[in-house]
């Protein structure tokens, strides 16, 4: 990585999800030098695993294609994948940052021809599908992967598979001797966009995610609809691969709950409303969706999306935090127990499949930031003078939907630009 040119007029963007890409691109298209680091093998982040966006029901890959082209076309952006920030020191206008790059075992010669994957035997859980499917030990993380370069799973290094892959490659693209590299760079400002992860559903014990096959999470449900997903786009339930037609959506699964995440994750209501349209998309009037909620938070003008879903007679709303789930031993159907608090009705409802609308947890645990920033009790970075030239973007700053995350990222790009412009003395 010797060829990285970075100065205190350079902006470092940490995280290659939609927020990080946006911040990097807005700054670069303005004319700044940007280094974009992503710890995974490619950019795209959380949204690249979604089937559709609310409320437009368009496909995230569409915007991803545009953003990836923007990166390809823009000489100001230097993308470093499989890279993490390990240390940050210095102050606004002059940070020295240590980066750790894990070996990809594949170099730029890779043409993404796929011969290595064919040669490799070993299979592992597919991260792209939250482990619902398998992928090879040499793999292209997704069809949209950028950089369009294969990766070798470190677990095959030292096994015959590794050599098989190397031999299969005609372009000398596989380098089994790659080592972890550490790089030190100087930058003037940092945009922190490490995003979020789904809350660990195993911790929501009353819902038995760890005990019942047919209780899954909302992010997993997105993969079921995806044509590249583990079921090729069919709504098949895990226990028996049968079509799930009567689906329960449980809101605030891990959010607004002192036992889990105290904050409201904002996106989950809209996500579940959106997912009821998936059920309709697949089954028409034969599908049945039931949403168990505390408050439906379909904010501002997208409230009309909620109104439309409400008008759909295949969708039922029950104001209730489900008390617990038990499994019908005969058919493995989850049975939901609780009370509808709008007029006290006790229910015991059986469904084919339960989708937990899991909450948004900041990817970086409060204690683990490699730099000093003000973090609130929920783990989000607060806007604060003392953060100096470090600015949070997207879901590092708050639980945000995609639109607001990109807004936040655009704003953080300006804040970073203000810093490096001061450094450059070009502020007027």
């Amino acid at each position: 990585m010797a060829d990285i040119i970075a100065t205190n007029e350079t902006i470092l963007v940490v995280g290659g999800g939609i927020s990080g890409m946006t911040a990097a691109l807005e700054a670069a298209e303005y004319g700044k030098q940007v280094i974009l680091v992503e710890k995974e093998a490619g950019v795209g982040g959380r949204v690249s695993k979604l089937y559709k966006y609310f409320p437009k029901l368009c496909h995230p890959t569409c915007g991803q294609e545009i953003n990836q082209r923007r990166i390809k076309m823009n000489p100001n952006v230097r993308l470093m994948t499989m890279t993490e920030v390990t240390e940050v020191s210095g102050e606004e206008g002059n940070y020295s940052v240590t980066l750790k790059t894990s070996p990809r075992y594949v170099n730029n010669n890779c043409t993404a021809c796929g011969d290595c994957a064919n040669a490799v035997e070993a299979e592992f859980d597919d991260e792209m599908n939250y482990g619902l499917g398998k992928r090879k030990g040499a793999y292209l993380p997704s069809r949209m992967s950028f950089p369009q370069q294969y990766v070798l799973d470190p677990r095959i290094i030292g096994t015959p598979d590794a050599n098989a892959a190397k031999e299969a490659c005609k372009y000398d693209a596989i380098d089994l001797d790659m080592q972890e590299e550490s790089t030190s760079i100087t930058v003037g400002a940092i945009v922190w966009a490490t995003g979020w992860q789904p809350y660990d559903a195993n911790k929501i014990q009353p819902y038995g995610y760890d005990r019942f096959d047919n209780v899954i999470t909302s992010v997993e449900f997105e993969r079921l609809m995806d044509p590249h997903g583990p079921t090729g786009g069919k709504l098949l339930r895990p226990s028996d691969g049968k079509e799930a037609k009567n689906i329960a959506f449980i809101q605030c699964a891990g959010s607004r709950d002192r036992n889990h995440l105290k904050h409201c994750s904002r996106i989950c209501c809209m996500a579940s409303l959106k997912q009821t349209t998936y059920v309709r998309e697949r089954y028409g009037d034969d599908g049945k969706s039931t949403i168990y909620y505390i408050d439906i938070r379909a904010i501002d003008r997208i409230d009309n999306f909620f109104q439309n879903v409400k008008a759909d007679e295949t969708v039922t709303f029950i104001k209730s935090k489900v008390a617990n789930i038990v499994e019908n031993k005969e058919n493995k159907n989850p049975v939901l127990r609780g009370v509808n608090t709008e007029g006290y009705d006790r229910y015991e409802n059986e469904h084919d499949l339960v989708v937990l609308a899991v909450g948004m947890q900041p990817s970086v645990p409060a204690g683990d930031f490699p730099m000093n920033v003000v973090v609130n009790e929920h783990g989000f970075i607060e806007e604060d003078e003392s953060n100096g030239g470090i600015f949070a973007a997207g879901c590092s700053a708050d639980a945000l939907d995609v639109n607001r995350a990109v807004q936040s990222a655009t704003a953080s790009a300006l804040r970073a630009i203000q810093v490096v412009n001061r450094v450059a003395g070009t502020e007027g």
């Binding site: 009353p206 605030c252 607004r256 709950d257 002192r258 036992n259 505390i294 104001k319 209730s320 935090k321 489900v322 008390a323 617990n324 127990r337 609780g338 009370v339 509808n340 608090t341 006290y344 006790r346």
Partner: protein, 208 residues
Amino acid sequence: MSNLNQTMVEKYRNDFLNEVRANVEEGDWVNMCMQCGVCAGSCPLGPYWEHPPQEIFMMIRAGKREEVLTSTSMWMCTSCYNCIARCPRELPITHIMHGLAHYADRLGLAPKEQPTRKFANKFWDNLTKKGRVNELKLGLALYFMNGFMEGIKVAMANQKLGLNMIKTKRMNPMEIIGGHGVKDTSGLHAILKKAREIELAKAEEFKG
């Protein structure tokens, strides 16, 4: 209407929420409920609740004093702590239910014939008398709490149970005379008396 009840009605007029906050164990928490109903769904005796906890909280906010305090609902609590464990807002629901029951009983509004109300009182009297529970007397008291004839019936119904317990040395007929207790009963009673006084004084001072 009991004098105490009279005073309270006058003192809080129609601000039942504040009356609860002042006089009921953990009553301050009532307002933190967000009506998710997880408590109602989690209670083992749920189906027997005329008004489940979260509804009671709503009724308190709505000022339904009479309906709440005369309800049998709070007396359904088995102290299983399911509601507390699951409440997303950290409400000590079990304690609030105990507190409401206690307050209702103090005011003389609790349903006289509610069996748990009777038993809970017997239990308290039994344990405070000597500082330790006398299971035999408690058992008998329980049988006879609905009057002598009723008591005989219940006792007969439970005869086998009683004999079993005696046979396995898990009940001692001799407990009827003397039985277990603490040595320093006077000290214990002094403590309880003082605690009571402090509690009432505190409720007096409450200022929203």
